[in-house]
């Protein structure tokens, strides 16, 4: 049941690198991360791989396998033919630190720019009442394990370093949607989603949804409804009037 698999793994650092070929034992039931661990233990002790839970729960082990953004710990070897070369490269959208490990600090920067949950004044802890149906929408988005694979795949920033400044990426546009759909949140992030976080740049290609290991419908359930909220506000003359008046009062 064991066989010798062929692996090509990108090795290098910020200054450059190349694919390295390995022949390595593969056993029944293993995932790609198991094989990389075997490489570390037997052939490449300093091979850098980021991982933590090895159970698809922490979102640490993101990389690209045969060019597709995936979790290393949730990609089973059984999806490949025995003679197929399995190529593992780091996520392309983020700067390489070493081998398969990238600098994902962009994501933490974006997370900080989104105004946090804002509870209604005067509601004491323990008094929160919300229906299951009303929390369900945001709960879907809170399944996110922050693997950043959607960020990696979105064409707005993939190969477009220059857009990073003005684009929060699907994960954090979804965070805005999550807060906006929170039954008790009182802050307003709708205009900022468009003006500061780059919602307008998303042209709903759904590539982010396709790679999400949690199966979150990022585009349909978060991004499109947010776009609708922006549109409602922009084109609803009453809303426009109301906003203009309140601005004059400030």
């Amino acid at each position: 049941m064991s066989y010798t698999g062929q692996f090509r793994v990108w090795r290098g650092d910020a200054d450059g690198g190349a694919l390295a070929d390995f022949r390595v034992e593969v056993n029944e039931g293993e995932v790609v991360l198991d094989v990389l661990h075997r490489l570390q233990a037997t052939q490449a002790p300093d091979l850098a791989v980021r991982w933590n839970c090895k159970a698809g729960k922490c979102g640490s082990c993101s990389a690209e396998i045969n060019g597709k953004p995936r979790l290393l710990c949730m990609t089973r070897m059984s999806v490949f033919e025995h003679d197929e070369v399995v190529t593992v490269t780091p996520m392309r959208t983020f700067p390489v630190i070493r081998d398969l490990v990238t600098d994902v600090s962009y994501n933490y920067t974006k997370a900080r720019e989104i105004p946090s949950f804002t509870p209604p004044a005067g509601l004491a802890p323990g008094e929160y009442r919300m229906g299951q149906a009303d929390v369900g929408r945001s709960q879907e988005f809170r399944k996110c394990i922050e693997c950043f694979l959607c960020q990696d795949t979105c064409h707005v920033v993939r190969d477009h370093e220059e857009n990073k400044e003005s684009f929060a990426g699907p994960r954090f546009l979804m965070r805005i949607a999550e807060l906006e759909m929170h039954p008790l949140d009182v802050a307003d992030r709708v205009s900022a989603a468009q003006d500061e976080h780059g919602l307008g740049r998303c042209n709903i290609t759904k590539c982010c949804t396709d790679v999400c290991p949690e199966g979150i419908k990022i585009t349909d359930n978060a991004l499109i409804p947010m776009k609708e909220r922006v549109a409602d506000r922009r084109y609803d003359p009453l809303v426009w009037l109301g906003r203009t008046i309140s601005r004059r009062r400030d």
């Binding site: 293993e30 002790p45 850098a48 159970a55 922490c58 933490y108 105004p115 809170r142 949140d185």
Partner: protein, 650 residues
């Protein structure tokens, strides 16, 4: 060491799981400059893996619940050697800590009237676990992470700098605590990314480093669980307690081999799943131990009725505390009634509609589908025990979390006492919140009351730095070098085989011998490559800690000649009341000639503090007599046994 990066903080929190983040929030809210250091990225700590829920007697589902009932359940689960003050604080404060999470933005599953829903779990008398499907840990850690971000945003609004008061040092590992005159002065660590060293000066350190499972081969724990906090505390002069108590969760995956040990949440049983052996028999009815007789259903019919009507039926023995279930599975497999891959069956498919299973247990469905090609809505799972949690840990003051080293605090899984000999499911997440907050508060008070701050001395920095870089040094001529991966694999196999669920004197003695050999060989470990993100080097350093902690476990397990909770001695199978009031303490005496890399650990027995009388009075004497010696019960208000009221006070 002039080229090392230096940082100064009031409080240094080591660990960014539930305990560390909650401690940091508390310290920061008290106006202290606080740093959080963690080995993984921010938001990835082990807490993220917790599935089933967070125990708190909110009484949302069953209003009969109260802190007293939760306290009693916790003490029973731990077989009465929990630190009762911790169990009391935990039971009283857990509801507030859970409600507080909602003010940070958490979204728990709801009851029909819009409150936080609660689910059943082993050993808990009522539905008590706040949860979000089976991803409660993710909700907890994300909520705390987002609270930290909110605090940073407040600082940004005020100062223009997000990190003015609260900074996260992610992918940064602490290798040594620094002290002056026995008090905490700071810590030394390295950036995983660059391999560069950094030194923190801080008068207070909160250890929140989690558990030790990576010393065992079959474990539900992640790579972070190398017992760093336990070992750092020992080397800094603190004591560990209860290290013989290691929880083997009854239901880990057993197949395929590469996923062996990954957890199957107890929520499967809480929601109606049952254990069966190869003959299709629900074997747990045969394993209700004497101390729990009468508290669990005696027929399948009663057990099944209980899910719908808890007032008039007793719960299924599938939900006995974890130590009981793990031992039962072990016996079934040993006696030849196991499943093909050496486990038993956990069946939910025949008990619930597929859509319902997917809704309640989405990540279990996903996990088995993806990793084992098993559809849990159609077929049973194969499960077996896996090393899951360490009850033992740093000995701390219950109210403040301070260890015996001034300025050194601990909370969460790396702290000891709260769970006694066996932790109830769901009691860890609540423990993190309750004692994380208390440790943060304890550290804040300590720093406020400090006259002069201990100073980090250069000589100590140099020594710690040298130790951290030692694995790069070549071995002496003629000495073959060792590979850290090989050493780690040998340690794991040995701990699994000799210090696992069932133990004997001979095995513990053998384990200690083997640890001695591994200690010697660790000196000859040489790592290849450079310091930048080098996993071989990281493992070599982690091994120091794993060896120390494993010695504490094996030596404690050798000394405790009884069976209780997470410690089962085949040669001493019964509970011994004389052992209930004794605690085993581990420390590093650091004598002359001691090994500097892996200092020796000694274990000594001491007496436990007797339970406060009003708490003791919450139990029926007849129950206490199963655990306590007669003289110890002289103070019980009901006096001595015979005819005391059933159930005690609610």
């Amino acid at each position: 060491m002039t080229d090392t990066e230096r940082h100064e903080y009031d409080v240094l929190v080591i660990g960014a799981g539930g305990a560390g983040l909650r401690a940091a929030i508390e310290a920061a809210e008290h106006g202290l400059r606080t740093a959080i250091v963690c080995k993984s990225l921010f938001g990835k700590a082990h807490t993220v893996m917790a599935e089933g829920g967070c125990a708190a007697a909110m009484g949302n589902v069953n209003e009969n619940d109260s802190w007293q009932v939760h306290f009693r359940d916790t003490m029973r689960g731990g077989k009465f050697l929990n630190n009762w003050r911790m169990a009391e604080l935990h039971a009283k404060e857990a509801p507030d800590r859970v409600w507080e999470l909602e003010t940070y933005g958490a979204l728990f599953d709801r009851t029909k009237d819009g409150r936080i829903s609660q689910r059943h779990f082993g050993g808990h008398s009522y539905a008590r676990l706040a949860h979000v499907g089976d991803r409660t840990g993710l909700e907890l850690i994300r909520t705390l992470q987002q609270r930290i971000v909110a605090l940073q945003q407040e600082d940004y609004a005020e100062t223009g700098d997000y990190e003015a008061r609260l900074r996260v040092f992610a992918e940064c590992t602490v290798t040594e605590l620094l002290t002056e005159g026995g008090a905490i002065a700071g810590a030394l660590g390295y950036w995983r990314e660059s391999g560069r060293l950094l030194v923190f000066s801080a008068p207070a350190v909160v250890l929140a480093t989690g558990g030790i499972g990576k010393s065992f081969q079959v474990t539900s724990n992640s790579w972070e669980y190398t017992g760093d906090g336990h070992a750092l505390a020992l080397r800094a002069g603190a004591e560990l307690i209860d290290m013989e108590f290691v929880q083997f969760h009854p239901t880990g995956m057993v197949w395929p081999p590469s996923v062996k040990g990954i957890l199957v949440t107890e929520g499967v049983r809480g929601d109606g799943g049952v254990l069966k052996n190869a003959d299709g028999k629900r074997f747990m009815f045969d394993y209700v131990p004497a101390v729990f007789k009468g508290q669990y259903a005696e027929s399948e019919e009663e057990a099944d009725r209980w899910y719908a009507d808890q007032e008039n039926n007793r719960r299924t023995p599938d939900l006995l505390p974890r130590d009981e279930v793990a031992r039962a599975i072990n016996t079934e497999v040993k006696e030849g009634r196991g499943s093909p891959h050496g486990g038993v069956y956990l069946d939910i498919a025949s008990r619930m509609k597929p859509e319902e299973i997917k809704r309640r247990l989405p990540s279990m469905y996903h996990q088995f589908k993806e990793l084992a090609d098993v559809d849990i809505t159609a077929e049973p799972m194969e499960v077996g025990p896996t090393c899951h949690y360490v009850m033992g840990g740093i000995h701390v003051d219950p109210d403040t979390g301070q260890s015996r080293v001034p300025g050194l605090f601990a909370a969460g899984e790396c702290a000891g006492g709260m769970h006694g000999s066996n932790r109830l499911g769901g009691n860890s997440l609540s423990d993190l919140l309750v004692f994380g907050r208390r440790a943060g508060l304890g550290a804040a008070d300590y720093v406020a009351g400090l006259g002069r701050r201990p100073v980090v001395r250069d000589a100590e920095i140099d020594a710690a730095a040298e130790m951290t870089l030692a694995p790069f040094a070549p071995t002496a001529p003629g000495v073959a070098s060792e590979n850290p991966y090989t050493l780690h694999a040998e340690l794991q196999r040995m701990m699994n085989d000799l210090v696992g669920i069932i133990r004997t004197e001979a095995e513990m003695a053998a384990a200690l011998d083997r640890l001695g050999e591994l200690r010697e060989r660790l000196h000859d470990v040489v790592v290849e490559g450079h310091r930048q993100y080098n996993p071989g080097w990281h493992l070599a350093l982690d091994l120091r800690n794993m060896l120390m902690v494993s010695e504490a476990v094996a030596a404690s397990a050798l000394m405790r000649t009884e069976s209780r909770g997470g410690h089962t001695r085949e040669d001493h199978p019964g509970l011994d009341p004389q052992w209930r009031h004794r605690v085993l303490r581990s420390r590093c005496p650091r004598g002359p000639g001691d090994d500097a890399v892996v200092p020796r650990v000694v274990v000594e027995p001491a007496e436990r503090v007797p339970m406060r009388e009003d708490l003791l009075a919450l139990f029926d004497v007849a129950e206490l007599e199963k655990y306590y010696t007669t003289p110890e019960l002289a103070g019980h208000p009901a006096g001595h046994s015979a005819g005391s009221p059933q159930g005690g006070t609610a």
